[in-house]
Symmetry: C2
Subunit: 259 residues, 2 copies
C-alpha cells in the first residue's frame, strides 16, 4: 500500500517548534510535506488571498529538513497544496501544533482551524491541534507527547476512512504524558472573553487602540472542550462546516417575511 | 422608548456604495453609527488584530454624513464598537451590503459574516447581508431595495427580541424589487469552488502564484441558500457559532482513544 501523503501547516509560522514536532511525529505515519506561513498569522481566520500574489520559498526547518514557506495565510498554504503546487493531493491535512488553546468560539478566529477547514473544503480529512496553555514554554516533553498523540489519531483517521464536512479540533494540555488524565470527545464550550480596548497616544498626539486584556476564561461545563482541558484531559471536538442553525428555520418561517 | 442603536460595518471598505445604502435605510429604524475598514478586506475571515495597533479616523461618507474608518478588519471594527469606542453598546450589528454572494461554505471565509460573528460573540443580534451577484454593477435600484429589505428585517429582529448564539446571513438577488420572487428561510448549500492556481514568473525569473479561476457555482438543492438565489428569491440562513458536529461525538467515542 502506498504511504499516506500528509500536508502539515500551522498559523504560528514556519519556524515554530510545534510545526517541527508535528512533522517529525507524522513521519511515522506517512510521507510528510510542510507548507507553512513565513510569519505568524494567529487569529487570522479563514482567508483566501486573491488580491496579491502568493510566493513559495524552499526553506529548511531547524533539523535541516526541507519545507516550503509562503507569504499566504494558513488556509492559503493548504489551498496552494491542493490546487496543484504539490504533485498529488494529500490524504490528510494537519495544522498545528498551535501555541495556545483553540476552545469554544476561538475556533471561529483560529488560523490553525481555518487551515483545517480549507482541507475539508478540498475533501481531505483534516485535524487542527493546539497546546492548550497561554503560558506556552513549549516544554519539549509536552510538545513531543502532543505530536505523538496526533500521529496515533492520524493513523486512526486513515484506518477508519473518516471523512465528511467536518474536521477534528484537538486541544492537548501542556503537560507531560503521565500528568494527562484521559481523552474526551467533546462539544465546544462557552468562552468568556476578557478583551479590553486600550487607548494610547502616539508621539504626534493622535489616538490609537490596542485590543488587549486578560486571556479568555470559559464555562467548564461537563462534556465541553473547556471542561476537558480544565480536567487535564485531551479534548477532541468534531467541528462541522455546515454552520446552519437548523433549530431556527421553522421559527423564522413563521415571521412571514415578504418581498 | 429609546431609539435602537445600530452599528453598521462591511468588508468592502468605507467607500463602498453598499455601506452607504445600508446606513441610510437603517436610519429609518434607529440611530446608526458606521465603523468600517479603510480598505477592502474581502475573504478576510474572522480576525482579531492583536499584533498591531488599531487606528480610527473620522471621515465623511459620499453623502457628507460622518463615519469612522479603521485600519482593522471588519470584525475588529465591531470589536472596537463593543469594547468601548462607542458610548453605549449597540442593539444590533449589520454588516454589508457585500458586493457578491456569501453562500454555502463562503460564510467561513467571509469578512462580512465575520463582522456579524463578532457582534454575536458580544451578545448582540447581528445580520450579514450580501448582494448575490458576481457581476455587481451595484445597480442602484437593486441595492436600494436590498437595503430597504434589511431595514424591515432589522425591525422584526428588534421587535421579536431575537438573540442567541447565531446570526442571520441574508443574500439578496441583484434585481429590482418587482423581479424578486419571494423570501426563503434556508440552510447552507453546497458550494463548488472553481479555484485554480495560476503560475507566473516575475521579471527576475522567480515563480509566484495567484489563486484565480471562475467564480464558484453550487448545487441548487431545494431549501438551500444556493437554490433560493437561483430561483431569484431572497435567502435568509440562520448561522450558528456552535460549530460542534454533534452527530459524530458518539462515533468517535467508540474509537476508545487513550492517552
Amino acid at each position: 500500500m502506498k504511504k499516506p501523503y500528509i500536508l502539515v501547516t500551522n498559523d504560528d509560522g514556519i519556524d515554530a517548534p510545534g510545526l517541527l514536532a508535528l512533522k517529525r511525529a507524522l513521519e511515522e505515519v506517512g510521507e510528510v510535506v510542510v507548507i507553512a506561513p513565513d510569519h505568524n498569522w494567529s487569529a487570522a481566520g479563514h482567508t483566501k488571498t486573491m488580491h496579491k500574489p502568493l510566493r513559495v520559498n524552499e526553506v529548511k526547518l531547524a533539523d535541516g529538513s526541507p519545507a516550503y514557506a509562503s507569504n499566504g495565510a494558513p488556509s492559503d498554504c493548504v489551498a496552494l497544496g491542493v490546487l496543484g503546487f504539490l504533485e498529488r493531493k494529500p490524504d490528510l491535512v494537519v495544522s498545528g501544533i498551535n501555541e495556545g488553546p483553540n476552545l469554544g468560539h476561538d475556533v471561529t478566529y483560529s488560523g490553525t482551524v481555518a487551515a483545517a477547514m480549507e482541507g475539508v473544503i478540498a475533501g481531505i480529512p483534516s485535524i487542527a491541534v493546539s497546546l492548550a496553555d497561554y503560558e506556552v514554554s513549549l516544554e519539549s516533553e509536552a510538545l513531543s507527547y502532543a505530536a505523538q498523540f496526533i500521529a496515533r489519531l492520524a493513523k486512526s483517521i486513515l484506518a477508519e476512512g473518516l471523512r465528511g464536512d467536518f474536521l477534528l479540533n484537538v486541544n492537548v494540555p501542556n503537560l507531560p504524558r503521565e500528568e494527562i488524565r484521559g481523552v474526551e470527545i467533546t462539544r465546544l464550550g462557552k468562552r468568556i472573553y476578557k478583551d479590553v480596548l486600550i487607548e494610547r497616544q502616539d508621539p504626534r498626539g493622535r489616538t490609537y487602540y490596542w485590543i488587549g486584556g486578560e486571556p479568555p476564561t470559559g464555562v467548564p461545563e461537563e462534556g465541553t472542550d473547556i471542561w476537558a482541558i480544565a480536567e487535564k484531559k485531551i479534548s477532541i471536538t468534531p467541528i462541522k462546516l455546515d454552520l446552519t442553525e437548523y433549530g431556527l428555520i421553522e421559527r423564522l418561517k413563521k415571521w412571514g417575511l415578504e418581498v
